[in-house]
């Protein structure tokens, strides 16, 4: 019975808003077409078009008139909004409103897709149309309405390409037929995989980027009718092509990555940012993208326990301090952005956070635009986000400035339907009153706001127990005294500061009571001003952490005098020599050099070398392995260079200036490398070599055959399979390349393009390798396909096949003394480098380890101990030899006139355990200076103390805090997998 009533209730609702042409069997057919007029209001038609004392006229859910002199029809319901403001209701473009979270698939990892008839990868889901699952969530709608929102743009937050969105008016009393403003309001993307599938590819950021690229290529190929199968995902992608493309990212770095992929396909994503854009605002601005920015701020850390507080990184402390300035920074840089409630634990905190941002300098007019006109323009809908004639009647009625903390939001009208948030008829009756009832007088103090106004009552100095309520214009009070209860009921007297009504005493006798105001409550504006003055934002550094630079190092003219120069050239070691660095190059080497306006460094007793080059490094990257497939030639570390990694700084503190950031060894064909200069503070693009030589990582042995998996299922599981895998891929690449060169149409395949570059000798292989059998095998495979392996890296049994390596022309980049950590290194010997060198192989010593890479000078020295290399040959293993292996020896790797000014000044013989780096210079810029480093240490301590004091102040002031969080360094090696 109850259910039936419920059903009837809903039916009646839907009837009243049923579509015109729908039949009705519930009674006579009626249409509601009331006109509402709101007069004497300050109307924000748009954030910049403000009408004072204006009238807003709405009918049938639309604005039909707005202005100072709007003619009000006689049958209109008129509301006088004297002293009140009207704003367009807000728009949130990034929401999962009404769409249930997809269920996690908890099966084991798999390599194939679950879906068939769709793309080969389950995480590409442009076909997902959330309309089928959409269910108007009244509870959530109420939260949003209460926060001032009238429209949300919702979609299924799941997968890399996630399908289309729905633009929904938050109108609780209409059917979806009215609420749905646009059922194709955009297409949504992210770097995150679908939780509904355990398909392992892609398991890295760079894999996700590569997958997006290949998907776009395939969609194009499909659109041209070249595929003979049905692919509903690609069809949907093509169908959604002209929609707004929304891309959610987790940090500013990912924003630049997403934008990069978009640019390659002429797609300008609208980026859902992370709130950290202020950290690198110039790079963000350069994207020329529109953004949707969350207003979600972290709470201060609880720093009251100094032992715990000591462990919080400055990076995380700064986040708390700087984050509220993000919106202001974005606005000042004229970046087009809208705001979202996405990421907030509770929508209720939206206004509080926004007010904080305003306090931090975010302009209120821009805030209003970011909630109204900008989101409307992003989504291409001119009928929302403004109150022009013809627009949807979504608007707010407030007591004052919409973002002021003292303002009350009364009503949020959506599609011409009223939603009451705070009863407008309730007046502000706060203040002190003198109450007289039954010849006794009391003092009544009313505080609070809206329906939540409350009273405390005293008689003389004594507090009187009482209850109080004020709603629907009626006041009721109960006084509880020794003499008994007195009940009062009454109303506020119109246009006066008093109340009156009827009182009932303990015996039930009636009498009159009156109350008259003695004093209004305190003025709020003075308090607001006080709040404005306390904002203090610490400066951002590059990168934004402890040892970051507040200003980027500049190219200097530097003259190093009277120093011992390790040239890594035929000249060998030059004593008492001067070296001039100018315009980022090594300008001159000689004696008694001078240069105008040069910084002169006395090198007496010191040693100057070329910067160390690490052929095998995994620092400065957000991902290292894409192990989701046995070949991942389509991915590149260049996509995921992370310029904020502290290991960059630590490496330059040890004299390393260039690193090849290699893909890991999770699969036989790994990803492409990034060869970077460790220019601490510069961004990823600036670090990557210009005209960089093209490299790719291959791998052999235990890692690629998943030896430490309890039961691997991916081909290959043996060294036998590894050979066949290479032959297979190169055979296909050869066929592909032939077709490509023939001029016939072909399906562009990034992976095969990359492999074809190897066959065409445009890309070089650096191959992770251990035992002699597999080393020999790969050289034979290469020879079969008429190319050479460029470098064997690790190559711990290189000494066993050094003659074959020399003949093949491959270099060896090895560890100085690692062994015994797995079975394939039982015959690894520290004499490996010496034997290979003696047989004529170009030998480098590498790190594969972020710690060793900061003291490769020591590792080079070990080749003197183990195998007796000369000091010059030993030093070359970390300078000119790796430069040769990386094909950058024309630019770096030695001290030679005309080469890049990448040099290191050492306190001592550079291969001595006692040697310390005094300066590391890259392209004439001083990126590490030991004296500056000591200053930075002090500055870190000082800034931390300052922030700790600010956090303590926040806590003592009643602010919420979170427990300290300790940041753990990531430690990437060859076999590090993400997730």
């Amino acid at each position: 019975m109850r259910k039936l009533l419920f059903l009837l209730f809903f039916l009646s609702l839907s009837v009243s808003y049923a579509q015109d042409y729908f039949p009705t069997d519930k009674g006579v057919k009626t249409t509601k077409n009331t006109t509402f007029a709101f007069t004497n209001a300050t109307i924000y038609v748009t954030p910049t078009d403000v009408i004072k004392k204006g009238t807003l006229l709405i009918k049938d859910g639309k604005v039909v008139g707005v202005g100072r002199s709007v003619k009000i029809p006689e049958n209109a319901i008129t509301t006088d909004l004297e002293g009140k403001n009207i704003y367009p209701s807000f728009i949130d473009l990034y929401s999962d409103f009404g769409i249930a979270k997809p269920k996690n698939n908890r099966s084991g990892d798999q390599y194939e897709a679950n879906r068939s008839g769709y793309y080969w990868n389950d995480h590409i889901r442009p076909d997902i149309n959330p309309l089928g699952d959409f269910k108007f969530d009244s509870r959530k709608a109420k939260e949003m309405i209460n926060a001032g929102f009238g429209v949300v743009n919702t979609h299924m937050h799941d997968g890399i390409i996630r399908g289309n969105g729905l633009l929904i008016a938050l109108n609780p009393n209409a059917s979806d037929a009215y609420r749905l403003l646009n059922e194709n309001s955009g297409q949504f993307l992210s770097f995150n995989k679908s939780v509904t599938s355990r398909q392992s590819y892609p398991n890295s950021r760079m894999g996700a980027m590569a997958l997006l690229r290949q998907t776009y290529l395939d969609a194009d190929w499909y659109a041209k009718g070249n595929m003979n199968n049905k692919d509903l995902a690609l069809e949907a992608l093509n169908k959604n092509k002209n929609l707004v493309q929304f891309f959610e990212v987790g940090n500013w770095l990912d924003a630049t990555r997403a934008d990069k992929v978009g640019d390659e396909f002429n797609i300008q994503y609208t980026i859902i940012g992370a709130g950290d854009e202020y950290e690198r605002i110039a790079d963000i601005k350069a994207l020329n993208a529109s953004f949707i920015i969350p207003v979600n701020f972290t709470n201060a850390f609880d720093v009251s326990n100094p032992l715990l507080a000591r462990q919080i990184s400055l990076r995380d402390m700064r986040k708390w301090n700087q984050e509220p300035s993000n919106l202001s920074v974005l606005a000042k840089n004229n970046i087009n952005f809208a705001l979202t409630t996405h990421g907030l634990k509770s929508v209720k905190s939206f206004h509080k956070n926004l007010q904080k941002a305003i306090k931090y300098g975010f302009d209120e007019e821009k805030a209003l635009a970011a909630l109204t006109t900008i989101p409307a323009s992003i989504i291409g809908n001119s009928e929302i986000g403004n109150l022009k004639e013809g627009s949807v009647a979504n608007f707010l009625i407030t007591s004052g400035d919409v973002f002021d903390s003292s303002t009350t939001l009364y009503e949020n009208w959506v599609q011409g339907q009223k939603n009451v948030i705070n009863d407008m008829t309730i007046r502000d009756i706060t203040g002190e009153y003198s109450l007289s009832v039954n010849n006794k007088s009391y003092k009544v103090t009313i505080t609070g706001s809206g329906a939540k106004q409350k009273a405390s009552i005293t008689q003389g100095d004594d507090k009187v127990k009482s209850t109080f309520s004020y709603s629907n214009e009626w006041i009721s009070m109960t006084l509880n005294e020794k003499s008994g209860y007195t009940r009062l009921i009454g109303k506020v007297i119109n246009d006066s500061n008093g109340m009156e009504g009827t009182a009932f005493d303990t015996e039930g006798n009636e009498s009159k009571w009156t109350a008259s105001m003695l004093m209004r409550k305190e003025d709020k504006k003075s308090r607001k001003k006080k709040e404005m003055s306390t904002v203090e934002v610490v400066p951002v550094s590059y990168p934004n952490l402890g040892f970051g630079n507040f200003s980027q190092p500049k190219t200097e003219t530097i003259l190093i005098k009277n120093v011992t120069v390790w040239t890594s050239e035929e000249a060998g070691i030059l004593k008492n020599t001067d070296v001039l660095l100018k315009d980022g190059k090594i300008a001159e080497i000689g004696n008694n050099l001078s240069a105008r306006r040069a910084t002169v460094i006395d090198g007496t007793g010191k040693h100057l070398t070329a910067g160390i080059i690490d052929e095998h490094s995994h620092i400065a990257a957000s991902a290292i392995n894409e192990g989701g497939q046995n070949s991942s030639a389509e991915v590149t570390i260049e996509d995921v260079v992370d310029p904020t990694d502290i290991n960059i700084y630590r490496n330059i503190s040890g004299g390393t200036t260039t690193s090849q950031i290699l893909h890991g060894s999770a699969n036989p064909i790994g990803g492409r490398s990034a060869i970077i200069k460790l220019k601490w503070g510069e961004n990823a693009d600036e670090m990557i070599y210009e005209n960089t030589p093209k490299f790719i990582k291959f791998a052999l042995g235990e890692n690629v055959k998943q030896s430490r998996y309890s039961n691997g299922t991916r081909f290959p599981q043996t060294r036998m399979g590894v050979e066949q895998l290479f032959i297979d891929y190169f055979t296909r690449a050869k066929e592909y390349d032939a077709l490509k060169k023939s001029g016939k149409p072909y399906r562009k395949d990034i992976e095969l393009d990359v492999l074809a570059e190897i066959l065409n000798k445009e890309r070089f292989i650096s191959c992770h390798s251990y035992v002699q059998s597999e080393i020999n095998m790969l050289m034979k495979v290469a020879e079969k396909f008429d190319f050479n392996i460029n470098t064997f890296t690790h190559i711990l049994e290189g000494y066993k096949v050094a003659d074959k390596m020399a003949k093949h022309g491959v270099g060896g980049s090895t560890f100085s003394d690692w062994w015994a950590y797995k079975y394939e290194v039982i015959d690894a010997i520290p004499y490996n480098a010496a034997i290979m060198h003696n047989v004529g192989v170009t030998v480098a010593i590498n790190s594969d380890d972020r710690e060793m890479s900061r003291r490769l000078n020591q590792e080079a020295a070990k080749t003197m101990k183990y195998g007796g290399l000369s000091e010059i040959d030993a030093w070359n293993t970390v300078t000119i030899n790796p430069a040769k292996l990386l094909h950058i020896d024309d630019r770096v790797g030695s001290i030679k006139e005309g080469k890049d000014a990448d040099v290191v000044l050492w306190s001592d013989y550079p291969m001595s355990i006692y040697a310390k780096v005094e300066k590391t210079i890259i392209e004439g810029k001083v990126f590490f200076d030991r004296q500056e480093d000591l200053k930075k240490r002090k500055a870190i301590t000082q800034e931390k103390s300052r922030l700790i004091n600010m956090m303590l102040q926040e806590k003592l002031g009643g602010g919420k805090t979170i427990p300290p969080m300790i940041r753990k360094d990531r430690d990437f090696h060859c076999d590090t997998l993400e997730e």
């Binding site: 290991n647 003394d817 010997i829 004499y831 427990p963």
Partner: protein, 431 residues
């Protein structure tokens, strides 16, 4: 027949590759080394020295200028350097051969309270990793079990032996305990906040250790119906014959570890790893607690730490009067133990005087292990466990060792590595 041939061939090949170095015989003739710079390991240096030893013991340490008869074989070592054998503390040599092959791993027994578990019987004296120590001057080591709260009991060995019994230098020298951390992080994989917070269970963990030791102490008073093997094994902690090595990090943890165990009557406490020890040096000095530092070749914990924090810590502690040695615990610790001299060198590069840095791996190590009456310095009456290096043994370039002696025995400096080096060098030469 064919099979037999193959098996023979197989054995020949295996034997050829796998043959360990044969331990040296007892010293029969006296040896006199003259002309070298002797680094005594106690901070002193003798230029142009004369060192003599017979029957495994040092009989003379002095200047070569001194007119005294050179006994036995005379080794001219002008321009070279003599050092006491380096001692690796908190090492696990011989308890595992290949990190990634579980079958070779013998350092971590199950159970959390294992004082009765003894490392010495699992020590593989013929490990190829062990023999690779000697050409770098590492001649002795404390073999330490890992894991649990009380990991077990370590022993000190010399690194040239037929079997563990031969190798034993000081059996069951110490019990090793892993002190709990006072912080815990939420289980993020269950959706908990990953923030690191004070661990509410920390007090329980400490109480657990307290009550275990207190019960052991009570038990050791006697009158027990039944034997309790783990408690029996803790006897040495209370009578002073064994040390308690507490592996701990953090100011709070280190403070608790020292005070709690001292209060319970543990006589000799050593702190191992000791991140944060710089904040409690007064306490360490007051209780005469030695510190076994982690290897300096590791990254600082926090990105705000000075890049050289792990290099300068030794200097900080030594300056405050703490006795410091160097431990090996960590990634790839066994194979890296041969880099012990360079760890000391790094501590020297970042503040310590070279001879003081040398003490960390000689006399201080011997002190902390309680074997300083026999080894750790070049002094008359001590074991002739020493080596001759071409140059500065704390530096890669100078660490070329041509002679090494353990208790006077002239030990082989060949290894699996040198054999392969020669084998393949010859291969290419003959071509």
């Amino acid at each position: 027949m064919k099979n037999l041939l193959y098996s023979l061939l197989f054995f020949f090949v295996i034997a050829n590759i796998n043959a360990q170095q044969t331990p040296a015989n007892k010293q029969t003739t006296a040896i006199s080394i003259e002309g070298a710079t002797a680094h005594l390991g106690n901070g002193k240096v003798i230029e142009n020295s004369l060192i003599m030893f017979s029957d495994g013991k040092i009989t003379f340490v002095g200047s070569a200028m001194q007119r005294i008869a050179r006994l036995g074989t005379v080794i001219k070592a002008e321009g070279k350097h003599i050092y006491p054998g380096f001692i690796a503390v908190n090492a696990s040599l011989g308890l595992a051969e290949i990190d990634a092959v579980k079958a070779t791993l013998d350092y971590d027994e199950i159970g959390s309270m294992n004082p009765h578990v003894r490392s010495i019987i699992a020590y593989n004296a013929e490990s190829k990793v062990v023999e690779s120590m000697r050409p770098n001057g590492v001649l002795m080591a404390q073999i330490t079990p890992r894991g649990g709260v009380i990991s077990g009991t370590s022993s000190v060995v010399q690194l040239d032996a037929w079997n563990w019994e031969d190798a034993t230098f000081k059996v069951d020298d110490a019990i090793h305990m892993n002190w709990p951390g006072s912080f815990t992080r939420g289980r993020w994989w269950l959706g908990e906040d990953p923030a690191l917070k004070a661990d509410p269970k920390y007090a329980d963990y400490v109480e657990n250790i307290k009550s275990y030791l207190a019960n052991a102490k009570l038990y050791l008073k006697g009158n027990n119906d039944k034997k309790h093997l783990p408690f029996e094994a803790t006897k040495g902690l209370f009578d002073g014959s064994q040390k308690l090595f507490i592996h701990a990090n953090g100011q709070k943890e280190l403070t608790d570890a020292v005070t709690v165990t001292k209060d319970l009557g543990v006589k000799n406490v050593v702190i191992v790893n000791a991140e944060g020890a710089e904040s409690i040096t007064d306490l360490l000095v007051k209780h005469n607690v030695g510190v076994v530092l982690q290897r300096p070749h590791r990254n600082p914990n926090s990105e705000d730490d000075a890049y050289d924090y792990t290099y300068t810590i030794a200097k900080t502690l030594v300056d405050k009067g703490v006795t410091v040695a160097i431990g090996m615990e960590g990634q790839m610790e066994r194979m890296n133990t041969r880099n012990l001299p360079f760890y000391a060198g790094t501590f020297s590069a970042h503040g310590l005087d070279k001879e003081v840095a040398l003490q960390l791996i000689t006399s201080n190590a011997a002190n902390i292990l309680g074997i300083n009456d026999k080894v750790g310095t070049l002094e008359v009456g001590k074991d002739a466990t020493l080596f001759i290096s071409e140059g500065d043994a704390l530096d890669m370039k100078g660490n070329i060792i041509n002679k090494a002696y353990i208790q006077g025995r002239d030990i082989s400096l060949e290894t699996h590595h040198t054999k392969l080096w020669k084998r393949y060098s010859n291969k290419y030469k003959s071509k």
